[in-house]
């Protein structure tokens, strides 16, 4: 049912995929078609239309870079993926947020199963709650920084809801003139900032944000694989495991730098509001860096946790094939230097993954839909 047109596909094979920027690396699309698991989309060189970057699962040349329009010619995507493909076809500005929201809309229709649809509803509620909590924490910081010693006798977070609202209004009204705007504008800006940073969270938030939870999962994954390496006698399997751990550690190092940068910004709301007035895009740009850095890791973590503990050696090959390449752009972002050729050298010797050629495609699709439900 899900056949691959190898004759067409081979025309798009390339080993020249060493993206310099995150946009060139592309954004992972949560496809459920086995052949497309972990595939990324990115703008074409001419910025007209999209390319799909697919890891070569047969151990041949490293990647296939397929024009978006040719996707349904080379394979028969699942119903979910066909709908997602239709929806993403109209998009020009590719980013993890956009792909995630589009994918959620498709999954919410039930096209990847009831479980995935229910997961989307739950995640949307959680995201809404995270935005409100972030907004509240930003307001509390503004209150603390604008009140007199007497006014702050009761810490704002310990006050009644009605009093907190009164103190927040006073704080915004008090601070607004310093920026030459109204209190309502400050409220609107804080709401926008909350929307921009809710996924990464603010310092002092007891509930870890979506991005911080994912970063922790990657750290846990790296630790578990290292333990697995220590217990595994097979050097070929260790090779795939090492590749995943190296990529995870590089990613975690960069993500930690991104969180430090954002935490510094979000620890002083008055300064942040001043900066926001001057250039709101700067914070937005920096706030999405963890999302770009961690893009692709959700499915890798889920492959590991979904696999039977006794069969994780097989899962590691699939994970190694999907381990994201780190673009040189991180040097510019955080000043992190790396041996940029290393991941590709390792990736070339990753063993062929034959699962997608077997007759158990429906089972693999069902597995991928399970992963999608976890990632929603």
């Amino acid at each position: 049912m899900i056949e691959i047109r190898n004759d067409i596909l081979e025309r798009f094979g390339t080993s020249a995929y060493q993206p310099a920027t995150f946009l060139e690396r592309g954004v992972t699309v949560p496809f459920t078609t086995p052949f497309l698991l972990g595939a990324r989309i990115r703008p074409t060189d001419t910025r007209v239309g999209l390319d799909v970057v697919i890891t070569n699962p047969s151990g041949g040349r490293g990647y296939y870079i397929v024009p978006w329009s040719a996707l349904t010619e080379i394979c028969s995507p699942t119903l979910h993926d066909r709908r997602l493909w239709q929806r993403l076809s109209d998009q020009t500005a590719i980013a993890p947020t956009l792909v995630r929201e589009t994918a959620r809309a498709v999954a919410a229709e039930g096209l990847a199963g009831r479980e995935a649809a229910a997961a989307v509803a739950k995640t949307r509620n959680e995201d809404g709650a995270a935005r409100m909590r972030t907004n509240f924490l930003l307001l509390l910081d503004l209150v603390r920084r604008t009140e007199t010693r007497d006014e702050a006798a009761i810490p704002p977070q310990a006050d009644t809801p009605a009093n907190i609202e009164t103190r927040a209004r006073r704080a915004m009204a008090r601070f607004a003139p310093r920026l030459g705007v109204s209190g309502d504008i400050i409220a609107a800006w804080l709401e926008s900032i909350a929307g921009a940073v809710a996924a990464v969270g603010v310092p002092g938030d007891a509930s870890p944000s979506r991005m911080r939870r994912l970063a922790r999962r990657v750290a846990t994954l790296a630790g578990e694989i290292e333990l697995w390496i220590a217990q595994s006698a097979d050097p070929t399997e260790q090779h795939a495991a090492t590749l995943v751990v190296d990529a995870a550690k590089l990613t975690l190092g960069c993500v930690a730098a991104a969180f430090r940068d954002l935490d510094a910004l979000l620890s002083d709301i008055p300064t942040l509001l001043r900066a926001w007035r001057e250039d709101s895009t700067d914070l937005a740009r920096r706030a999405v860096r963890p999302d770009w850095l961690l893009d692709g890791w959700q499915v890798i973590c889920d492959l590991w946790t979904d696999a039977d503990p006794g069969l994780r050696g097989g899962a590691l090959w699939e994970m190694a094939l999907l381990a994201p390449v780190m673009p040189r752009e991180v040097e510019e972002w955080f000043g992190i230097a790396e041996d940029w050729d290393r991941p590709t050298r390792l990736r070339r010797v990753v063993r062929a993954n034959e699962d997608w050629r077997t007759g158990r495609m429906l089972d693999i699709v069902a597995r991928n839909e399970r992963l999608l439900a976890k990632a929603a």
């Binding site: 049912m1 028969s76 995507p77 699942t78 119903l79 993926d81 066909r82 709908r83 229709e109 039930g110 096209l111 199963g113 009831r114 479980e115 649809a117 229910a118 007759g359 429906l362 089972d363 069902a366």
Partner: protein, 401 residues
């Protein structure tokens, strides 16, 4: 047996045979816990074909573990014929009891080890089975006919013949077990040869029993028969004879109400048939005809089961439902659809594409009608369509509006 007792037994047998699947599983679990299974086995005989489909988790009992290497020659008492070299099921309990008494503390230790375990616990079966077969092989030749033997309705000579055959198989249970463990991979030729070569000095009936058990579990019966013939062990023609018996006993009994079981069985049959068709053991025209007949039988069974099960398990529940299925029901429908797709893929390799196309068309037309019915969730229908007919067809149904 008195008239009233016989009538009561008939009534119980009928009750067991007609019990619902759930009740039957409960009855089996209860029988499995009984110390004396003789009567229980008689009552279950009528329900055995259904039990094979239901596959309830079977606890390991001393009798079942002891006779595992002889599975291929155990038959229902009413089908037993002296000259066949088989063992009637009603003899198992008596033989087991005799072995248990002879083993004493060893049997008690093994029974303690298997208590509460199922045959899925392969490590337990492996460790304690090897120990049991080894000990049973040693003590059985010196056992005299137990007093309970008369109750089986068999004569003394039957006891000696059956006990000798069982002891012979248990003596070589180690290499036989190695072959059985690899049954889903063929088993490989070398394991078949090793098992038979180990028993080369035994009576032919022992070799036949071992081969019958390997064939019963083998994924590739043609390769097994060819390997057995090439081993040149025992009297000539033994491999062909056992293969013929295997072919005679083959019954492609696919359950319409168990899509997963039907799919699994269909796939196993297809693998076996393809292996038989390429096996040198199936060169003779009359055997080729038997295999061709089996192909037709399995093909017919797959087509019929597919057509009936798609209607009965997918279309009917949706047609008669007053509300869209809940999450659990939808998951079950999708799981059934996946199994039916596997059944279709396996069945099509045996021919009859047109029948599958027609059945599929009928189901899709049914889904199309449901799509227009108010209150239907189009995504549910599209999901099932995708599994059965592919995503392009599903997208068309979804967008049909």
């Amino acid at each position: 047996m008195s008239t009233s007792l016989a009538a009561e037994t008939r009534r119980l047998t009928h009750a067991v045979a007609t019990a619902s699947d759930q009740a039957l599983a409960g009855i089996v679990a209860y029988f499995d816990s009984m110390a004396d299974r003789l009567e229980a086995d008689r009552l279950l005989d009528a329900a055995r074909p259904r039990l094979r489909k239901l596959r309830p988790p079977r606890p390991i009992s001393l009798a079942r573990l002891l006779f595992l290497p002889l599975d291929g020659v155990i038959v229902d008492a009413r089908n037993w014929r002296r000259q066949d070299g088989t063992i009637p099921r009603n003899a198992l309990a008596v033989l087991t009891e005799a072995v248990r008494r002879a083993l004493g503390a060893d049997a008690a230790a093994i029974e303690a080890g298997i208590a509460g375990r199922h045959f899925a616990d392969l490590a337990v079966v492996d460790a304690l089975g090897r120990k049991l077969w080894h000990r049973a092989a040693k003590v059985t030749p010196s056992l005299s006919r137990p007093a309970e033997w008369e109750a089986t309705g068999l004569v003394e000579a039957d006891y000696h013949r059956i006990a000798a055959m069982a002891a012979g198989v248990w003596r070589h249970a180690e290499p036989l077990w190695s072959a059985l463990l690899a049954a889903r991979e063929g088993p490989p030729e070398i394991l078949v040869r090793d098992a038979l070569a180990a028993a080369a000095s035994e009576d032919a009936v022992v070799l036949e029993a071992m081969l019958a058990t390997i064939l019963l579990k083998a994924a590739k019966p043609g390769s097994v028969a060819a390997a057995a013939a090439a081993a040149h062990v025992g009297p000539p023609g033994i491999a062909e004879r056992m293969l013929d018996r295997w072919l005679e006993d083959c019954a492609p009994d696919l359950a319409v109400d168990d899509a997963a079981g039907a799919a699994r069985l269909a796939e196993e049959f297809v693998e076996a048939i393809e292996d038989l068709e390429s096996s040198p053991a199936v060169r003779r025209p009359e055997r080729r005809q038997r295999v061709a007949a089996l192909r037709r039988q399995v093909g017919d069974a797959c087509r019929t089961t597919y057509a009936e099960a798609t209607t009965q398990s997918l279309l009917s529940p949706l047609t008669h439902a007053t509300a869209p299925p809940d999450n659990a029901a939808m998951l079950a429908l999708e799981s059934t659809a996946r199994s039916l797709k596997r059944l279709e893929v396996a069945g099509r390799t045996l021919g009859g594409d047109a029948a599958y196309d027609a059945a599929l068309r009928r189901i899709l037309d049914g889904f199309g009608s449901l799509r227009r019915r108010p209150g239907t969730n189009p995504a549910d229908l599209a999901r099932l369509t995708e599994i059965l007919a592919g995503s392009e067809v599903a997208l068309k149904l979804l967008d049909a509006g």
